[in-house]
């Protein structure tokens, strides 16, 4: 990764900010900062960030001298919850855990939810923390590892099904001033356990927000995880999320990422299939408008044989929005009999909207079934005419086709309240056409 010269100031500022934190003597953090300084912020020639002008945005819009988390006057989180969904709610406001708004309803023998800051110095968390998500791989993982303020550690004991989903809500309050925060998540599903995890980021106010996430999730043997991310910020959110899910044998994973609003949204989402007979459904949907840039960089890494992965990302770009999809599939030499599929489909609604899509397959095993495909285009004129010829007006016909296109990505979601909530968000967005 090549650093650009203009980021020296910003890099220095961030290093100075680190010197002000109480954790500056922590070895992991110091090492992470060194990695960050070595990697530098991505420039416009950095291949992995070629379409994602985060460095420029950080230089232009943020003041890193001011690093204290800001107070929020939020009185209620009701509007951010998912209607009718009974869930364990964990709330972070400007990156800091909020005991007032958080509420765990599942019994302690089903799920253990603890403060990650404490947990990293105790028994189990250190076994997993930073185990698979490497600070040397991405500057924002490094940055997050050096500067993270708060986080949560979730453990699901073996042979346990968590009946109620866990809903993690990140609220960025940028009503008065900018907000910069770095959040961390560590989740361990022990053997034969089952969890539905929902993570939503949202914001209030119109000042700039910079939020990094580093998320490590381990799905052990025979465990099942449904993981849904909802990125629907109304404000000027600049977000970089580095997520890694590590799967052991016979585990099942369903993920869905919905990106709708924000300024710059980047998801580096990696799935390491490190076991046999795993199943992964890796879905995403981006419905963009205005000047939003959403960049999904995904990796599916088949390390062991006999597993199945199916990746489907779809996008609808309106206005001046930009979508980026980069999907890498690795099939390691040992991963024979792998079935890996990937598809990225895009619809552009205006002449000024863009999509950059790049599928990459690297296959070292010889007995595998893999396919990938990407499309981008406009709505199908013939289908539109067909609907209109039955009396459906143009706008309704467009909405119907777009909805049908988008809703396919909801297929893996099992929780009905969650599904109907997501369905509502999607139809609401698409019905205006």
């Amino acid at each position: 990764m090549s650093a650009i010269t203009s980021d020296i100031d910003l890099k220095e500022k961030i290093a100075q900010a680190f010197e002000q934190t109480p954790d500056r003597k922590n070895i992991q953090r110091t090492e992470a900062l060194q990695h960050f300084q070595k990697l530098g912020l991505p420039g416009n020639k950095t291949e992995e960030y070629r379409f994602f002008p985060i460095t420029r945005a950080l230089e232009k819009n943020f003041d890193f001298d001011q690093s204290n988390p800001i107070e929020s006057k939020i009185k209620s989180i009701y509007q951010f919850l998912i209607p009718d969904l009974e869930a364990n709610v964990i709330v972070f406001i400007n990156g800091i855990y909020s005991p007032v708004f958080s509420k765990v309803i599942s019994p302690e023998n089903e799920i253990i939810i603890s403060d990650l800051r404490k947990a990293v110095n105790q028994n189990e968390a250190p076994l997993y923390f930073e185990k698979y998500l490497k600070t040397s791989a991405d500057p924002f993982t490094a940055l997050n590892t050096a500067l993270w303020q708060d986080g949560v550690f979730i453990q699901v004991p073996a042979k346990t099904k968590v009946e109620k989903p866990v809903f993690i809500l990140h609220i960025n309050d940028a009503e008065k001033e900018q907000s910069i925060c770095h959040t961390r998540l560590l989740v361990v599903l022990e053997e034969e356990s089952e969890l539905t995890l929902i993570e939503r980021s949202t914001s209030i106010g119109t000042n700039n927000i910079f939020h990094t996430f580093a998320e490590e999730i381990l799905v052990k043997e025979n465990a099942t995880l449904d993981y849904v991310k909802i990125q629907n910020d109304e404000g000027k959110l600049h977000q970089v999320a580095n997520s890694l899910i590590h799967q052991s044998s016979k585990s099942k994973l369903n993920t869905f990422t919905l990106t709708m609003n924000g300024s710059l949204i980047r998801n580096n989402f990696n799935i390491a299939i490190d076991g046999e007979n795993c199943e992964s459904h890796f879905y995403g949907l981006y419905l963009l408008n205005g000047n939003t840039i959403a960049d999904n960089h995904t990796v599916v890494d088949h390390i062991k044989p006999n597993s199945f992965s199916n990746e489907l990302y779809k996008g609808v770009m309106d206005g001046n929005s930009k979508g980026v999809f980069n999907g890498k599939i690795f099939v390691r030499p040992n991963a024979q009999k792998t079935n890996a599929f990937q598809s990225n489909r895009n619809i552009l609604l205006t002449d000024t909207a863009t999509i950059n899509t790049k599928p990459q397959l690297e296959i070292w095993a010889d007995d595998v079934k893999c396919s990938h495909g990407c499309t981008s285009g406009q709505l199908d004129e013939e289908a539109l005419f067909y609907l209109r010829s039955r009396g459906i007006p143009l706008n309704n016909a467009k909405a119907m086709l777009l909805y049908a296109f988008a809703a396919e990505t909801l297929e893996p979601i099992k929780n009905t309240e969650l599904k109907s909530y997501l369905d509502g968000l999607i139809s609401q967005r698409l019905n205006k056409y």
Binding site: Y386, R388, S389, R390, G391, L394, A397, A404, F405, E408
Partner: protein
Amino acid sequence: MLTIKNLKAKVEDKLILNGINLQVNAGEIHAIMGPNGSGKSTLASVLAGREDYEVTEGEVQFLGKNLLELDPDVRACEGIFLAFQYPVEIPGVSTVNFMKTALNKIREYRGQPSLDAVAFLQLMKEKMKLVEIDQSLLSRSLNEGFSGGEKKRNEIFQMAMLEPKLSILDETDSGLDIDALRIVANGVNKLRSKNNATIVVTHYQRLLEHIVPDFVHVLYKGKIVKSGGKELALELEAKGYDWIKNEMELV
């Protein structure tokens, strides 16, 4: 009901309809026949409002309105129905939902209240019998993975649901076996009344054994060159389109 006067239409720079004149009255069935490339399907598409064609001359009156000025969806609301030669597959939209939306949009246009779910299902069941179509087919994505016969039956099912005043069947017989042809034709015949009219566009006489036309028109090089009763179709079948072509060359 429908009056077409000197209709000319082109696609890109190619003139396809070269002065069509046609009068269709309520209660009538008109067959439009002609060799490949004579403009049959273009005529059907222009009437339904497909935007790929540019009308350069002429006029089309439908129930007193200038049809050419109306959007395709408004034409449908006014009572025009086109049964597609190649019905479009639309993943993610079920026929049931599609028909519910379409029917209620048309009802809204006509100032009628929306049908509730119960009334809609009742109507659907009634119309399903007409074309011997199975409900499981209608719950699936529109035409996706349907056989040729299933697609055409679905077209006639939609026609039955929307109760158009003028139905245009564009090569509905193409790709149908004898049984499917009989089912489709039965459906059309049962829907026939003194208040509606049908234009059957076809290459072969075979469909016209089942849907008996009042008038047969032969289209050649974008013009109606011969009109007659149902016996004209038989004559065409016996003599072939070369007969028309030769006759035209002589003129």
